[in-house]
């Protein structure tokens, strides 16, 4: 059997099979990784760009472009704590809570909604207006397009308590906030104190209670993606199957059944078949190489 396997023909095929199996195993590994890390790679790539001043990407009332999506930016301004809103039904690490959405009034007089973080319930101290940093701040965050308005019949209200909105929807925020608004919002990653008009820098505002950070890259489902896991398994099986096929061909050669012979037929080496190795292919004009 080993002598058969060492024939140049089978060694060459073994190399081909092993290369193919290695390729398939890599593809399996890739699907395995995909199954466990289902964050969108494009979003990850966009959110890791170096931050730029927000004014260089988008200004108030301008259309939100694709280039602005998930773009890390720095916005300098002052929060308006009195106008802070909460956005319910938001998930973080498998729990449902609320986003804390505070308008940041920029130096040019326009404003952008900043998702400062997530709180488990509306009564959380971090959701109180008193917990909003005062004074000029430089906010680093990732730009997101405004969310589409909720699908609701005209005149029907959201039924939410005052100070809560269903979506980060600019068309609704225009009615609640008094500044020209940017058509997207910021998901805060961090902030520092910014220089005030007279050039002095106040200490970094101490956040007595800050809401939990919302990740810049939206969380996946948190679970394992079954489809990718399934594809991973299939690639590994294909890789193994290729090696099995090689072994099977070598075995057939060893047993001397390798020019064609039905291997499991009860009537061994049927004379008709033996005399005519490729009876079925007679009609095909171009018969390729046969193993």
């Amino acid at each position: 059997m080993l002598r058969t396997a060492l024939k140049p023909r089978w060694l060459a095929l073994l190399v081909v099979v092993l290369v193919a199996a290695a390729g398939m195993a890599r593809l399996g590994q890739w699907q395995w990784d995909r199954a466990h890390d289902n964050a969108d790679e494009n979003v990850v790539a966009r959110t890791t760009q170096p931050p730029v001043p927000i004014g260089a990407v988008i200004k108030a009332r301008q259309t939100f472009t694709g280039a602005a999506a998930d773009r890390p930016v720095v916005a300098v301004g002052t929060y308006s704590a009195a106008d802070q809103l909460l956005v319910p039904e938001r998930r973080l690490s498998g729990r449902t809570g609320l986003w804390v959405l505070t308008p940041l009034v920029l130096e040019d007089g326009s404003a952008v909604g900043v998702v400062r973080g997530w709180v488990p319930d509306a009564a959380d101290p971090a959701a109180a207006a008193a917990a909003v940093p005062t004074g000029p701040v430089a906010v680093r965050g990732v730009l997101r397009p405004a969310e589409p308005p909720p699908d609701r019949a005209p005149g029907e209200s959201s039924g939410l308590p005052a100070g809560q909105v269903e979506r980060v929807d600019v068309t609704e925020l225009i009615g609640l906030w008094r500044w020209p608004l940017l058509t997207g919002y910021l998901v805060l990653t961090d902030y520092t104190a910014a220089a005030t008009a007279d050039g002095t820098t106040t200490a970094v505002p101490v956040a007595a209670a800050s809401p939990a950070r919302v990740p810049a890259v939206p969380e996946g489902t948190g679970g394992i993606d079954l489809r990718n896991l399934s594809y991973a398994g299939q690639w590994f099986l294909f890789a193994g199957f290729g090696i099995f096929m090689w072994w099977r061909l070598v075995r057939d050669d060893h047993l001397g059944v390798l020019p064609p012979a039905p291997d499991d037929d009860p009537a061994p080496a049927a004379p008709a078949d033996a005399a005519d190795p490729h009876p079925a292919d007679e009609t095909t004009p171009h018969e390729g190489a046969t193993l």
Binding site: D40, N42, G66, L226, R227, S230, Y231, Q234, L237, F238, F241, M245, R248, D252, P260, A261, P262, D263, D264, D265, P266, A267, A270, P271, A272, D273, P277, H278, P279, A280, D281, T284, E287, G288, A289, T290, L291
Partner: protein, 127 residues
């Protein structure tokens, strides 16, 4: 050989049908998606059959794996033209082609089954 052919034909049809469902799924996703939205975020076939967007691709994946295995099994028994059999295995990934491949394989293998029976008959006669 007959059983192997039946296995192959069942899998060829099942894979073919699921590949059509998968194609329908992707076409629906392309129709449904909002401009700028990635294709895979659209609901696809799930809009017609709830949840199908999740299991149709998975089922097709496994059916195709079994399809390739039964194709190879059939090849070991029949020794059909090898490059063509590779084509048959790949046909499971192209919409409608598995039906064409199934037809070709059946036309190739069925005459062999006839010969097999004749051979078995003549072999039995001398006893």
């Amino acid at each position: 050989m007959k059983a192997a052919l039946t296995r192959y034909r069942v899998l060829a049809w099942a894979t073919g049908v699921f590949l059509l469902l998968l194609t329908l799924h992707v076409v629906l996703q392309a129709v449904q998606k909002e401009p700028g939205q990635p294709l895979f975020e659209a609901e696809g076939i799930g809009a017609v059959l709830p949840g199908a967007g999740a299991w149709v691709p998975i089922v097709h994946g496994w059916l195709y794996l079994v399809y390739v295995i039964v194709s190879v099994d059939l090849w070991f028994r029949t020794r059909l033209n090898f490059p063509r059999m590779v084509g048959v295995a790949l046909a499971g990934t192209i919409p409608f082609m598995s039906f064409v491949a199934e037809r070709w394989v059946r036309h190739q293998v069925e005459p062999m089954l006839g010969r097999e029976r004749t051979a078995a008959g003549t072999a039995a006669q001398p006893q």
